[in-house]
């Protein structure tokens, strides 16, 4: 038997491309750097072929063909920019816009609307339509807890319907009626309420589906975008952080909040094109209830301190313990919300001192499913495991409660949630110095003797290791609020004052050192990680701590 043909070679706009069989013409065109416009086509969904804007001219075919549904064939000659094609696109666009309202001023999609984009690129026609537009019934209608529908703006590409049918398999959305009167809608009494509902707003190429959370909050052209990773669970979905980059001049927008929304970012190995609503709307803590000042206990209340003062006090305490050979009287509770860099610097600095009572707080557990959401609601459990850190936080806290510790340094997590109200109080009373270093106000703040503000994930560079062992970059989208600093930076400052010298001065340097000192991270660097991250070289080489399952 002859070897089956493995590739197909075709010509697109005079350029020859070789693609595997089964590739559509649209994908081949993209590969040939002659992209074709499309609305209904989505690489993550089935092909509907109903928007008709991806028309291309294929030699020997009698009419223009849609590129998204036509399979590439050997010897095919495709033209994406001939006069015929351009005329066809323009006509299709005119049809799509026949019933489309001139809503751009009030439409949230304006600025990132594919109708606007393609009209400017391929439309610019003189409108021939002078009949009455068919008015659709639903305008600014809530179809679920997070999504608003505007039927007039819909071009019936059916992406959202296919998303609900194929990805979430919940099938809330459907297209009802026929012809001019076709309408997207929900079934009576069945709102669009699934954990991934926010994605229909992303797939909607026009302003038909808008996000209630983002609605009218900020114009999209004010937004800046930073690639990052969702810290909401151990899946590590790739996201883009959209911040209001004009907030300096326009402080009135959304009450001055900095982060406006999160959007999923394509990563074929993690989340593909999607993200869950829990992560999508889980950005509020970045601007709410933040700790922005170094605070020191002053009697029953707190007074504002400076970093200099706080670090001086910490250094002094550590020195005293060291001189008295009492370093076993210091305890550290780390968190799985810290980045690999934070954890590594903590391990090095505290290890360098000789502090043994160091444990990572186990992650909060939550809802999970077999798609993206994971029960482990922290982004870096795997990273802490890979570094061989102990998860036996109970032992540390019990020692503290037994008055065996004089310094307890808690990172991020809530001591009250961890140990219970009564024990947390006991701990606070029995240690000489309880340091809380975190980004947001929680109940530990009322017990701690020293509060250090730390930067949230959107304010620092670093990496998270997801459940599968993929190390992924987070990038700084906004400056730390107030006096907040990344945890590793504070630890380095403490180390500097005690006379240690480190070879790194920035997150990249920390990671470089991490890669050379920790076997599990061997060979990794920010360059290797790139935008999509990279797997830890060895899998499960580290014994795991208590409270989490290394196989998941």
């Amino acid at each position: 038997m002859a070897e089956p043909v493995k590739t197909v070679t075709l010509t697109v706009d005079g350029k020859s491309v070789t693609v595997p069989p089964g590739t559509t013409v649209l994908q081949a065109c993209e590969q040939a750097d002659s992209p074709v416009p499309f609305y209904c086509y989505h690489p993550g969904l089935s092909i509907a072929g109903n928007c008709r804007i991806c028309l291309v001219e294929i030699e020997k075919a009698p009419k223009l063909q849609i590129a998204c549904y036509t399979q590439a064939a050997e010897g095919m000659v495709v033209r994406t920019a001939s006069d015929n094609v351009l005329q066809g696109r323009q006509d299709v666009l005119e049809f799509l816009l026949v019933n489309h309202p001139l809503d751009c001023p009030v439409c949230d999609q304006a600025g990132e609307c594919w109708l606007q984009d393609y009209y400017m690129a391929y439309g610019l026609y003189n409108q021939k339509f002078d009949e009455q537009k068919v008015k659709k019934s639903a305008k600014a209608v809530s179809i679920g807890p997070t999504v608003m529908l505007d039927m007039e703006r819909c071009i019936l590409c059916s992406r959202c319907v296919r998303f609900c049918d194929e990805i979430t398999k919940t099938g809330e959305l459907g297209i009802f009626n026929r012809g001019d009167h076709s309408e997207l809608g929900i079934h009576p009494g069945k709102p669009l309420d699934n954990p991934y509902a926010g994605n229909v707003v992303d797939v909607c190429p026009v302003g038909a589906l808008t996000d209630k959370d983002f609605r009218f909050k900020c114009r999209v052209w004010y937004l800046g975008s930073t690639s990052s990773v969702c810290p909401g669970c151990s899946k590590g979905c790739n996201i883009e952080i959209h911040d209001n980059r004009e907030r300096g001049q326009r402080p009135h927008i959304a009450q001055g909040r900095r982060i406006m929304r999160l959007k999923p970012r394509y990563n074929p190995d993690v989340n593909q094109w999607w993200m869950c609503d829990e992560g999508r709307y889980g950005y509020k803590f970045i601007d709410e209830n933040r700790l922005t000042q170094v605070q020191l206990r002053d009697g029953s209340g707190y007074r504002a301190g400076s970093w200099d003062e706080a670090l001086g006090l910490l250094t002094q305490t550590l020195r005293r313990l060291k001189d008295a050979q009492q370093l076993d009287r210091a305890g550290v509770v780390l968190s799985t919300h810290l980045t690999n860099e934070d954890l590594y610097v903590a391990k090095r600095v505290f290890g360098g001192f000789g502090i043994r009572s160091l444990a990572v707080q186990p992650a909060r557990q939550g809802s999970q499913d077999d798609f993206l959401r994971r029960a482990d609601k922290s982004p870096n459990t795997r990273g802490a495991q890979a570094m061989g850190l102990s998860f036996d936080v109970k032992a540390v806290l019990e020692r503290a409660a037994r008055k065996e510790l004089s310094l307890l340094w808690v990172f991020g997590g809530d001591l009250v949630e961890l140990a219970g109200e009564a024990q947390a109080k006991t701990i606070a009373d029995s240690v000489d110095l309880l340091v809380f270093q975190g980004s947001n106000v929680n109940r530990t703040c009322q017990l701690a003797h020293m509060i250090l503000p730390s930067a949230v994930y959107a304010e620092k560079d670093g990496t998270f290791t997801n459940e599968a062992g993929r190390v992924q970059r987070i990038r700084q989208a906004v400056q730390p609020l107030g006096e907040a600093k990344p945890e590793w930076r504070v630890l380095l400052d403490v180390a500097d004052r005690t006379g240690f010298l480190w070879e790194f001065r920035d997150a990249q340097g920390v990671f470089g050192s991490l890669a050379s000192h920790e076997a599990a991270f061997k060979g990794l660097s920010y360059d290797v990680l790139g935008d999509q991250g990279a797997m830890l070289p060895q899998k499960g080489s580290d014994p795991s701590g208590k409270g989490s399952d290394p196989n998941r």
Binding site: D103, C104, P105, V106, A110, K139, A140, V141, R215, F216, R219, W221, Y222, Q249, R250, H252, I253
Partner: protein, 206 residues
């Protein structure tokens, strides 16, 4: 062929070159006499005409061109860009739909809009607050030009913008909808956010 920049450079050099004065101009004295002559003609003419106007003579010949501002104000051309106003719907609510185009296009970044959800889905969005800082405004008129709803105009013919403080140059949404309603000693209600009912009440109370 000379390029455009060459031509421009040439023109700039031409403009910088001083014209040489003639002998007549260089002795200066004739120019001084000429100046004195012009000034005196105006002085005596105005003196005579003003006195004559007092006794009711030569009323049709105008005297000095000084306008007795503010008792007397010159009419301005309707297309002159003067202080802004916001247009209203019939019920007194702003016509502005909060599209933020003026805020975006404003080169001085002096417009601040907070939009809100309008109960009528065919309107959908309205400006809850609309503030304009005249202390920053450069009167370019881009906001008027860009507005898709004809909601902002610069045709109040008010150009007497003087204030005792920077805040006095601030126009809140009430002042923009009802120009002249605020006393110049009152502080502006910066970023005041109004409901639709408030706008209707404002219109009724005049």
């Amino acid at each position: 062929m000379a390029t455009l920049s060459d031509q421009l450079l040439h023109r700039i050099r031409e403009a910088h070159r001083r014209r040489t004065l003639s002998w007549w101009e260089r002795i200066y004295l004739p120019a001084i006499a000429q100046g004195l002559w012009v000034t005196s003609v105006h002085f005596w003419r105005n003196l005579f005409l003003h006195l004559a106007h007092r006794v009711g003579l030569f009323r049709r010949i105008p005297a000095a061109v000084t306008v007795q501002y503010p008792d007397e104000q010159r009419p301005t051309a309707p297309r002159l860009r003067t202080r802004h106003r916001l247009m209203q719907r019939e019920d007194g609510t702003p016509r502005c739909v909060g599209c933020m185009l003026c805020e975006t296009v404003c080169p001085a970044k002096c417009i601040y809009i907070v939009p809100g959800e309008h109960p009528d889905p065919s309107v959908e969005k309205y400006a809850r607050s609309f503030d304009l800082d005249l202390g920053k405004c450069v009167y370019c008129g881009y906001c008027v030009e860009v507005c898709p709803e004809d909601a902002i105009r610069m045709d109040t013919q008010r150009h007497d913008i003087a204030a005792f403080s920077r805040d006095g140059m601030w126009l809140d949404i009430i002042e923009l909808l009802h120009p002249g309603s605020r006393k110049h000693t009152d502080p502006p209600k910066k970023f005041i956010q109004l409901e639709l009912e408030d706008f209707r009440r404002l219109k009724q109370s005049g």
